[in-house]
């Protein structure tokens, strides 16, 4: 049997080992390397691609409460490409119904484009006889289906 003093020493060593093993150094490293402002900028850029949040704000400002908006962007579905643009719009644009134009397996959703009141196109121009441009800027454009009441 291990003598009592040796057991005690080993116990404390293991208890300290648990604390050291669990210590999260990430926050300390990040704060030392980048400072609060640096981390804030880095985290914010993880969330929003430059300009996209501003674009969505414009979309919200220029559409009516309850409007249906379909999201177009020249990206495929998969690993956060099209999904990012679509999901982020669902989160940031309040009081409107946001629809995808593309689905899993890159299935185009023409029905959604046809029935939406607006097309919000990010990173691509849209030319469609059924739609008129409402606004463009901030890396994208907003198009209204002709015939819907303004």
């Amino acid at each position: 049997m291990t003598p009592a003093p040796a057991r005690l020493a080993l116990t404390w060593l293991l208890l300290v080992g648990l604390a050291v093993g669990a210590f999260e150094t990430l926050y300390l490293q990040m704060l030392r390397a980048h400072g609060r402002d640096g981390i804030r900028t880095a985290l914010a850029s993880m969330t929003d691609e430059p300009g996209y949040a501003a674009f969505l704000r414009e979309v919200e400002n220029r559409t009516e409460e309850g409007a249906t908006i379909v999201i177009l962007t020249p990206r495929p579905w998969g690993r956060g490409a099209y999904e990012y643009v679509y999901y982020r719009a669902v989160y940031l644009v309040d009081g409107r119904t946001i629809l995808p134009a593309l689905w899993i397996g890159n299935e185009p959703l023409f029905d959604n484009v046809r029935k939406a009141d607006y097309i919000a196109a990010w990173g691509m121009p849209v030319t469609a006889p059924s739609h008129e441009r409402v606004w463009s800027g901030a890396g994208g454009g907003l198009y209204r289906r002709i015939g819907i009441p303004q």
């Binding site: 009592a4 969330t47 669902v90």
Partner: protein
């Protein structure tokens, strides 16, 4: 930030009399930790029930029932059988314990700084947990149409709703949705987990220094950086419930508080529903007496879980994990592949897990006494492997995406187990020499 702080304080204040009424053995920091968790759980139940009966959410509609529950618990606590606990005669230098606690507080402040620097940034916050909170707040109730909409599949309408509903509490106080200080709510769950672990280890080892070191070690999982995600809340509920049930099994106390917390874990993540099954099985396997009665005493957990699962099924929100589709994907080879992928992917804090394993090896003789806790830790790992084995995604991708985060779920229970058996091993030499 003020509405978030008021929300946390309100949930804490609501929970305190409930803990005194239903957890007679709770003392010290465990009361504060469990009180916040129970307050958060009660707020969830109230918001769910308001939604079910068609009452529009408001601060008043939430606060009145919360106040009634708190007052009723206060009366019950006075009439209850709260017995005087063992005198708080702890060993170990208070100065050393205080120094370690100061270091823990330093890590906590560092984490709070990091978590609140900006809006919650994780994809799962704004695509799942935060999105649902924001949507429910806008509707002032559960928006079943949104949850059932095909194009919103990514938001996982079938996931249990506790975290979004708790995020809505400060929004109801403010009267508007704000991302900015949502992290305060996440941080409160982290703090609750630390407070609960500290007191359970202290009660078990009676040594302030050991409790302080264990609490420091608990920061690894409790302050893991999953800001705005349900994992931290689940970790807190799972840890508090299992430790409370362990205590009630050992001391013959009421299981009501532990069962409530277990039910709230099931309202937080699907892993909580799995935990409900795991705890039931562990109780059946390891309770020394009155097994059936012990299992039946878990009824509040099932009742709480049902407040979401029944309407979820009624509204047709399918969770493929619990349906035939997932079980049809289970094969032994997929289970083996999941185990191999997990073995190849380091968990969060791998050295912590190595030391946990060493502690358990030294204290192996005392694992029988901790069969309930040990079996739950093992079953949690096994259930994670089963989930990976039945995933509709590529197993390797799923493991690489989530294993670091998911490996934190049983970390605090494993920590308490490791510390308790290690200290018993250490003291057995003192007694025999």
């Amino acid at each position: 930030m003020i509405p978030e702080l008021i929300a946390v304080a309100t949930l804490l204040a609501t929970g305190i009399p409930v803990v005194y009424a239903f957890a007679p053995g709770a003392r010290g920091s465990r009361v504060a930790g469990e009180a916040f968790l129970i307050g958060a759980g009660l707020a969830t139940i109230i918001l769910l029930l308001l939604s079910h009966v068609g009452i529009r959410w408001s601060a008043v509609a939430l606060l009145v029932p919360l106040g009634v529950v708190a007052l009723a618990s206060l009366l019950f606590a006075r009439r209850g059988t709260r017995t005087a606990s063992v005198a708080d005669a702890f060993q170990g230098s208070p100065a050393i314990a205080t120094a370690i606690d100061a270091a823990t507080a330093g890590v906590f402040i560092l984490y709070v700084t990091f978590a609140t620097l900006t809006n919650p940034w994780d994809w799962d916050f704004w695509a799942i947990w935060g999105l649902k909170a924001k949507t429910f707040f806008a509707a002032r109730g559960i928006d079943w149409e949104f949850l059932g909409e095909r194009w919103n599949e990514f938001a996982h309408g079938e996931y249990p709703p506790l975290l979004p509903l708790v995020f809505d509490v400060p929004a109801l106080f403010r009267g508007a949705w704000s991302d900015r200080w949502t992290a305060i709510v996440s941080v409160a769950f982290s703090a609750a987990a630390l407070l609960v672990v500290r007191r359970h280890v202290l009660d078990d080892t009676r040594d302030r220094r050991v409790a302080a070191l264990a609490t420091f070690a608990a920061t690894g999982a409790a302050l893991a950086g999953w800001v705005g995600l349900a994992d931290v809340a689940f970790l807190a509920f799972a840890t508090a419930s299992v430790l409370s049930l362990r205590r009630s099994m050992r001391d013959g106390d009421s299981a009501a508080s532990g069962a409530m917390l277990l039910g709230f874990a099931a309202l937080t993540k699907n892993e909580g529903v799995a935990l409900l099954a795991i705890v039931t099985l562990a109780t059946l396997l390891t309770a020394k007496s009155d097994r059936l009665q012990r299992v039946l005493s878990l009824w509040p957990a099932f009742a709480i879980a049902a407040t979401w699962q029944i309407p979820r099924i009624a509204y047709g929100l399918k969770s493929d994990l619990f349906l035939g589709e997932a079980s049809s994907r289970f094969t032994v080879s997929r289970f083996v592949e999941a185990a191999q992928r997990v073995a190849a992917e380091p968990p969060h804090h791998p050295y912590f897990w190595v030391v946990v394993a060493v502690c358990v090896v030294f204290g192996a003789r005392w694992l029988r006494e901790e069969a309930f806790l040990a079996s739950i830790v093992v079953l949690q790992f096994l259930s994670t492997l089963v989930v990976y084995a039945v995933t509709a995604n590529d197993i390797a991708w799923q493991v690489s995406l989530s294993w670091r985060r998911v490996s934190d779920h049983p970390a605090l229970l494993a920590l308490v187990l490791a510390v308790v058996v290690l200290v018993r091993w250490s003291r057995s030499a003192t007694r025999t020499s």
